[in-house]
């Protein structure tokens, strides 16, 4: 049975002027690690707030653990763990004070569920007398996760836990999530970083309040409708301009050290492109067909 179900959820602000969430439906299975992937302003936070019973949707229904988010909000509040996007703990309380406060508020103690948070907590334990405000970004994030887990929730909502955190801490964070998933906790997590999508079992790509694609990352990638080429040369900036000038180019974007190219007719016009580029004085161009990334899919679906 699905742990989290959204059906045609719509949420507007400013008396209907701003449409934050537009007819969104999806379900998260029990014990699944599900990602909401999309840029800021896509509606991710509104979805989290509706699910954690903090906001009422304009229309549609949502259930968490079989409870309705409007009628049974009390039952839901007993069972979910929620880490809001701008959650910053109590800066003036120490690590230990923060944790024991949240444990008590959630009717629990640190000892009771220590097993669940142990892996994470041992990393911050040496600093337990330090005030939360003096922790580094990575440590804060770990402490916040501990606080959200301290009552052993069955469903965990994490709103952009990795935003503004460096690549190393992000990687560690995702490893922690994987271990939590193994303990049977259902996790719904959002992120604006497209490269984190493949770390989820299933994802929903979301843009301007609407889900534009949903499925396993492999599934979404396999549905990429076109052939994708990667192009490299010694002069990347000029190359970008000239690939875009090629009449058959549908899109060309930089992806790190290469440009990703699609053609408007879905056939392989790689050789024609190479010839065209030679006329523009590119002689060291390296082009090959590649598997798209989630970011390629997102860009394609945005149109």
């Amino acid at each position: 049975m699905a742990d989290v179900i959204l059906q045609n959820i719509t949420k507007t602000y400013n008396k209907g002027e701003t449409r934050a969430v537009n007819d969104v439906s999806f379900a998260v299975e029990k014990g699944e690690l599900f990602g909401l992937i999309g840029p800021d302003g896509a509606g991710k936070t509104s979805i989290f707030r509706i699910l954690s019973t903090l906001l009422l949707a304009d229309s549609g229904t949502a259930k968490v653990n079989g409870f309705d988010v409007v009628k049974d909000y009390r039952s839901i509040r007993n069972q979910v763990g929620y880490m809001p996007g701008k959650f910053s703990l109590y800066q003036d309380l120490t690590v230990e004070e923060n944790l024991s406060f949240f444990a008590t508020v959630f009717n629990s103690t640190i000892e009771e569920n220590y097993g669940l948070i142990k892996d994470i907590y041992v990393q911050i334990e040496p600093f337990k007398t330090r005030r939360a405000g003096k922790l580094s970004g990575g440590m804060k994030q770990k402490l916040a996760l501990c606080c959200a887990l301290i009552h052993r929730p069955t469903v965990l909502f994490l709103d952009e836990p990795t935003t503004g955190v460096d690549a190393v801490s992000r990687k560690e964070f995702w490893e922690m999530l994987k271990r939590l998933k193994e303990q049977g906790i259902t996790i719904l997590v959002s992120t604006p970083y497209m490269d984190e999508a493949t770390l989820c079992e299933r994802i929903a790509l979301i843009q301007n309040g609407s889900v534009i694609s949903i499925g396993t990352p492999e599934n979404i990638i396999s549905h990429f409708p076109k052939k994708l080429l990667s192009a490299k040369s010694g002069q990347m900036s000029r190359l970008l301009t000239h690939i875009r000038q090629f009449p058959e180019t549908a899109s060309c974007f930089s992806f790190g050290d290469a440009h990703h190219v699609t053609f408007s007719e879905n056939k392989n016009q790689m050789n024609e492109l190479l010839v065209f580029l030679k006329t523009k004085n590119h002689h060291d161009v390296e082009i090959k067909e590649i598997t798209p990334t989630i970011e390629d899919c997102f860009i394609d679906l945005m149109k």
């Binding site: 580094s136 503004g164 190393v168 990687k171 900036s237």
Partner: protein, 247 residues
């Protein structure tokens, strides 16, 4: 091509009590270069950037920004640089044109050139229709692009960008980098921090800060070679993994 040095530091250090936030960093940035300033959280990036912008006095070491000394000529430095961050960008309750004119005015541009240039800028960004709307009503991606254009409106020698593309959608993120390239081609030096490792590839050179030190500094291609990595993500991971400050 002109290869004047616009940022030059020598053993630049900042200490807060017995904590050394930035430890003897030495590097040069050439005019028109796109310089990526990377590092883990707490590595000292923000502190270093503040010193370079003339907002905070170094404890020791030398630094010269756009030809001016960071100890004595901070006012002149501020006139010759632009700054933009993810958090502070524009006044939400002013219109697009009002924002542009306000920043032009701050940097002492005369009224005539502000007027001419602001019309030009609005057209260039494709915001002609929205020019008299409040910035609040713009989508985030547009705000960031506009904020960048405003930061270089007074044609500074250097522009400092602090995580300019955080949370921006993939297409707008790339359009943003198009703007960065265009600025660099006009000779504006771009000094940028980011958490997106693919963006590190777009820089001419990158420095990696770990625990207050610059641990590596080279072009992305050379760094990958040096660390035997296939992408910048791995380079970053190898360097920052050993960081003590970010446990």
């Amino acid at each position: 091509m002109e290869t004047k040095t616009v940022i030059s530091t020598e053993n630049l250090t900042k200490r807060f009590g017995d904590f050394t936030a930035v430890n003897e960093i030495t590097f040069d940035v050439k005019s028109g270069e796109i310089f990526g300033f990377l590092g883990a959280n707490g590595a000292g990036k923000t502190t270093a950037m503040r010193m370079l912008c003339g907002l905070s006095n170094p404890t020791s070491g030398k630094a010269n920004i756009a030809g001016f000394d960071v100890y004595r000529q901070t006012e002149k430095i501020k006139r010759n640089i632009g700054y933009m961050s993810q958090k502070f960008s524009l006044y939400e309750d002013l219109t697009i044109l009002e924002n542009i004119r306000f920043y032009g005015g701050i940097y002492g541009m005369d009224r005539k050139s502000i007027k001419a240039k602001s019309v030009e800028l609005v057209e260039q960004l494709g915001l002609k229709e929205e020019a008299t709307k409040l910035v609040r009503s713009l989508p985030l991606g547009w705000k960031q692009k506009l904020a960048f254009s405003v930061a270089i409106f007074h044609e500074p020698k250097i522009v400092f960008l602090d995580e300019p593309t955080g949370g921006v959608d993939p297409v707008t993120r790339r359009q943003f980098w198009d703007l960065i390239y265009a600025a660099a081609e006009r000779g504006i030096t771009v000094f940028v921090t980011t958490h997106y490792m693919d963006e590190a590839e777009y820089c001419n050179r990158i420095s990696m800060m770990v625990d207050g030190y610059i641990k590596a500094l080279d072009s992305p291609a050379n760094l990958k070679k040096q660390f035997g990595a296939s992408n910048m993500d791995e380079v970053f991971y190898q360097l920052a993994r050993g960081a003590k400050r970010n446990l």
